[in-house]
């Protein structure tokens, strides 16, 4: 998978036609073969853009910054990224007319060691669902049968106290740097509920229980919205297995809310934000 040339051409064309102010893409990080996101503001920088299977980050996150807000932006999205973009559009965080979206029919990206990322092996929506221009051949795989994440499956086998002990260890390692939050395209609140001065509901301390509060609240606020791009995991300096929280939510929602997958349908706000007659109500006495 290498669309470097096409993306450079598209970006040059967009700048030449004056259609965009900023282009968000990937560049080489300058010291190994990994890539980092880049915001370029003119045609002279177009040659820095690359796109290969090392283009791991979700660039939709950069629509939250002052460099892109209220500007005309071109950006590259893979399947998962496009789903989060869909949610950003639905939740009125960005305006579609301000965007030029280069969609990728993604074949999966790889980690530092060159192995295909776990979320890519499980991916059900590889082609971008929002785009002005689509690169690559659509896989047209449609929706595949849902496979429960193997890590979740392993954890589910363990007895409850063992699971609790495992997560205690996970939360203990959290340093409350909030990188997960900042790296998530869907964490765009003006002020996070956990940080509010009046938020008596939440434990803000930098302790295991504080981390538990913060991460559980965070994962529930993303339940039915998380698109499994794993930006949070890539950003976490403590290497916490954050996908466990999200994948568990995802599988429960997929099972109970008519096979709901976040961000696939434009205008869909997610399982928790709409009422349907088919919603399960067996928990109501």
């Amino acid at each position: 998978m290498n669309y470097t040339k096409q993306i450079q051409e598209i970006a040059a064309k967009l700048f030449a036609e004056g259609k965009i102010d900023v282009f968000v893409g990937y560049r080489m990080n300058g010291f190994d073969d990994n890539q980092v996101p880049v915001l370029i503001t003119g045609p002279q920088e177009v040659s820095r853009l690359v796109f290969t299977d090392k283009s791991v980050f979700n660039l939709v996150n950069y629509l939250k910054t002052d460099h892109t807000r209220r500007k005309r932006v071109g950006l590259v999205v893979k399947g998962c990224d496009s789903r989060s973009l869909n949610l950003m559009l639905t939740e009125s965080q960005v305006k579609r007319e301000n965007l030029y979206v280069v969609g990728i029919c993604c074949e999966g990206v790889v980690d530092d060691a060159g192995r295909k990322m776990q979320n890519c092996t499980e991916c059900m929506v590889p082609d971008a669902v929002v785009s002005d221009e689509l690169l690559g051949t659509p896989s047209n795989i449609g929706l595949q049968p849902y496979a429960v994440n193997p890590d979740i499956a392993v954890l589910a086998e363990k007895p409850l106290p063992e699971r609790a002990a495992y997560f205690e260890e996970v939360f203990e390692n959290c340093i409350r740097c909030n990188a997960c939050r900042h790296s998530c395209p869907l964490c765009y609140c003006a002020k996070c509920c956990i940080d509010q001065e009046t938020a008596t509901l939440y434990n803000g301390a930098n302790t295991t229980s504080g981390a538990f509060h913060a991460l559980m609240t965070w994962s529930l606020h993303l339940a039915g919205r998380c698109v499994d791009c794993r930006n949070c995991e890539k950003a976490c300096p403590s290497h916490l297995p954050l996908h466990l929280l999200h994948k568990q939510n995802e599988s429960v929602i997929y099972e109970n809310f008519q096979e709901h997958l976040a961000g696939v349908i434009p205008g869909d706000r997610g399982a928790f934000y709409k009422y349907s007659m088919q919603d399960p109500d067996d928990f109501i006495m």
């Binding site: 509920c193 706000r269 709409k274």
Partner: protein
């Protein structure tokens, strides 16, 4: 520091029998902020309220907890007691130790007492964080909507309009009149239904305060009591009512024949039709499902014969919007389909008919000119068997409840049969004869003597054919034997059932319905015409099966409620509404989507102090907000606060147990 007063109620024996009230009082006295706690037999009575008023003054209390029944019952009563003592009424907190404790834990007094203590502790903790709130005034739209143009809707509309309040009456079918227009005579006086109903129908059409919208359906209701917005879909009638004179040339020439709903499908009507000659409005509509011009583009006869040029095949459905302040729901009932009674041969034997079919046959304007005939061969029946409780009081095949009107209308049918076919004989299979009502028992007794009807107490087990007769086999429980009756015609007194689209209507209106589909009243005894949603009232069979006198009474009661609601120019409203902090709102608009009242809109605010750049945030219309809290729960930024249920109040409650 807060000074809380706690008042624990015995509720006679309702609470005191299962909760140790003195122990609860002792327990709450141990809470630091509680400066006064006491108990009384009936807290809601005048002496009970007096205790609260006195204690407020004497002990300088800053908030009050009443541990008694559900706040739905007496919150208003106690708030008023607080006001009377010069205290802000919203400093009251009710701990529901009756429905939530004593009534549900009757087998375990210790546990019930312990739970009552928890509930009191929570209420005390919450009340400490209570804030003074002030009622909101909202303007009232003085116009009522009546849904359904049967006798209930007609009566309600006339009574409201007579008080010079404008009414919008929406009827689904082309004419008002409902089921009553299909009846021949009415029990117990044998008045002709048409003679007493049609003048009222004409009154509706000519009343200056009634806007009649026939052939229409309510599709959306938004807003709140006093300020609803309704959307009505007016179905395309393909006839311009303004120019149509109702001359009838069109339906005389129309070549398409369709089973006539008004006559229960016994005869045919045309594709362009008025339901019955006395219809109001007396203008025809085209049945789009059967008209060949609309279906295939061939025919057009009605347009040719119409001298006024009133036929318009291009007419489209139209959406009408009205602002209204109150709603009367009068959607009536359906007749229960007796198909599950396979042993009676329903559907196999033509000579088994339902009571409404019989009613149409004996009606003077019916398909057989008032003479009952056998559908199979058109002969006049001599022996007629009436079977009661078909579907009613039958848990196995039908519905558990008694349909209330069948005993009386079957009695009426025996009389009508006797009048129309003098040498006939009627048999009635019954379970009980329920004739509670003014003049009802006398009516039944007289009918039995006059008509010589044979009453057989017992259920019918089977009906089979013998020649051209039907053999009805059943039990006569009074002699303890199986009997067989040879019948020319069998009439099934089918149950009254809720309109099948009531649940959908209820969801659209935001009111509740029971397991049968009847709409639920707010209180079965003390608030029988109100629903749990303010400003929506129920009239007639849509609430439960009932006869015409009861329906009319209920409709008039609804009218009185509507007039009472519109007595002032503004309405006071609870201040328990949400507010949004612009600072925290991220503008995702999830709250806009979840708000069931349409109370949230978007607003543009500067991105920072003095900035000219704007961003979108949500804004709550406090007049529309009903304080349900859906937006508070959905808001990830916790930007929304609900007065009376703030985070500190809720956290205090949680922490206290």
């Amino acid at each position: 520091m807060a000074r809380v007063g706690v008042f624990v109620c015995f509720c006679g024996a309702n609470i005191a029998d299962y909760v140790d009230v003195p122990q609860v009082v002792e327990e709450v006295k141990r809470i630091r902020e509680v400066k006064f706690a006491t108990e009384y037999k009936y807290m809601c009575s005048d002496p009970g309220q007096g205790m609260i008023r006195d204690a407020i003054v004497q002990h300088k209390l800053t908030s009050i907890v009443v541990a008694a029944c559900s706040p739905r019952m007496h919150e208003k009563t106690f708030r008023k007691a607080l006001s009377d003592a010069g205290m802000n009424p919203y400093l009251l907190e009710v701990a529901n130790i009756r429905e939530h404790s004593s009534w549900v834990h009757q087998k375990d007094k210790k546990a019930a007492t312990s739970k009552a203590m928890d509930l009191c502790r929570m209420a005390v903790a919450k009340s400490i964080a209570n804030e003074q709130l002030h009622e909101i005034s909202v303007p009232v739209t003085k116009r009522a909507l009546v849904i359904g143009g049967g006798i209930a809707g007609i009566q309600a509309a006339l009574d409201i309009a007579d008080a010079r309040i404008p009414v919008v009456l929406v009827e689904r079918s082309p004419s008002i009149g409902g089921k009553m227009a299909q009846l021949d005579e009415t029990f117990p006086t044998l008045d002709c239904a048409q003679c007493i109903l049609t003048p009222k129908m004409v009154d509706v059409a000519s009343h200056p305060y009634i806007e009649l919208i026939p052939y229409s359906e309510v599709i959306e209701l938004q807003g709140f009591v006093g300020n609803y917005k309704v959307k009505i879909r007016k179905k395309a009638s393909y006839v311009n009512f303004k120019t149509c004179t109702g001359c009838g040339a069109c339906w005389q020439k129309c070549p398409v024949k369709v089973p006539n709903e008004y006559n229960m499908g016994i005869d045919k009507r045309k594709a362009i039709y008025t339901p019955f000659p006395q219809a109001v409005p007396n203008k025809p509509v085209i049945d789009a499902e059967h008209c060949t011009m609309l279906l295939k583009g061939k025919c057009g006869i009605c347009a040719k014969v119409c001298e006024k040029g009133s036929i318009d095949y291009t007419m489209q459905d139209e959406i009408i919007e009205r602002e209204i302040g109150a709603v009367v729901v009068a959607t009536g009932y359906d007749m229960w389909d007796p198909a599950p009674y396979e042993e009676y041969g329903v559907g196999r034997f033509k000579d088994i008919i339902t009571s409404l079919e019989f009613e149409r046959m004996v009606s003077a304007n019916g398909p057989t000119n008032g003479v009952p005939v056998r559908p199979s061969d058109g002969k006049v029946p001599k022996n007629v068997v009436f079977i009661k409780c078909v579907g009613s009081r039958d848990e196995a095949k039908g519905i558990e409840y008694c349909s209330k009107i069948c005993c009386m209308y079957t009695t009426k049918h025996t009389i009508l049969l006797h009048h129309k076919v003098h040498d006939s004989h009627a048999y009635v299979f019954y379970m009980d004869i329920r004739a509670a009502g003014k003049g009802y028992e006398e009516f039944v007794k007289k009918a039995q003597v006059d008509t010589g009807t044979t009453y057989l107490r017992g259920r019918v087990s089977k009906i089979y054919r013998k020649g051209d007769k039907l053999m009805v086999r059943g039990e006569d429980a009074q002699i303890g034997q199986v009997v067989e009756v040879e019948a020319d015609l069998v009439v099934l007194a089918t149950a009254v059932s809720a309109p099948k689209d009531n649940p959908e209507l209820a969801r659209m209106l935001g009111i509740s319905y029971d397991k049968y589909g009847y709409l639920s009243e707010a209180h079965p005894k003390l608030r029988p015409v109100e629903t749990a949603k303010a400003g929506i009232f129920l009239a007639g069979c849509t609430q439960a099966p009932k006869d015409i006198p009861e329906t009319v009474s209920q409709a008039s009661a609804c009218a009185a409620k509507v007039c009472g609601l519109f007595a002032g120019d503004t309405m006071k409203k609870d201040p328990m509404v949400s507010t949004i902090s612009n600072e925290y709102c991220s503008g995702c608009q999830n709250c806009v989507k979840v708000c069931p009242y349409g109370a949230i809109v978007t607003d543009e605010v500067p991105i920072g102090y003095g900035s000219k750049e704007l961003r979108t945030v949500a804004k709550i219309n406090e007049g529309v907000c009903q304080g349900c809290g859906s937006c508070v729960a959905i808001c990830r930024s916790t930007a929304i606060t609900l007065a009376g249920f703030t985070d500190p109040q809720i956290i205090n409650e949680i922490v206290s147990i």
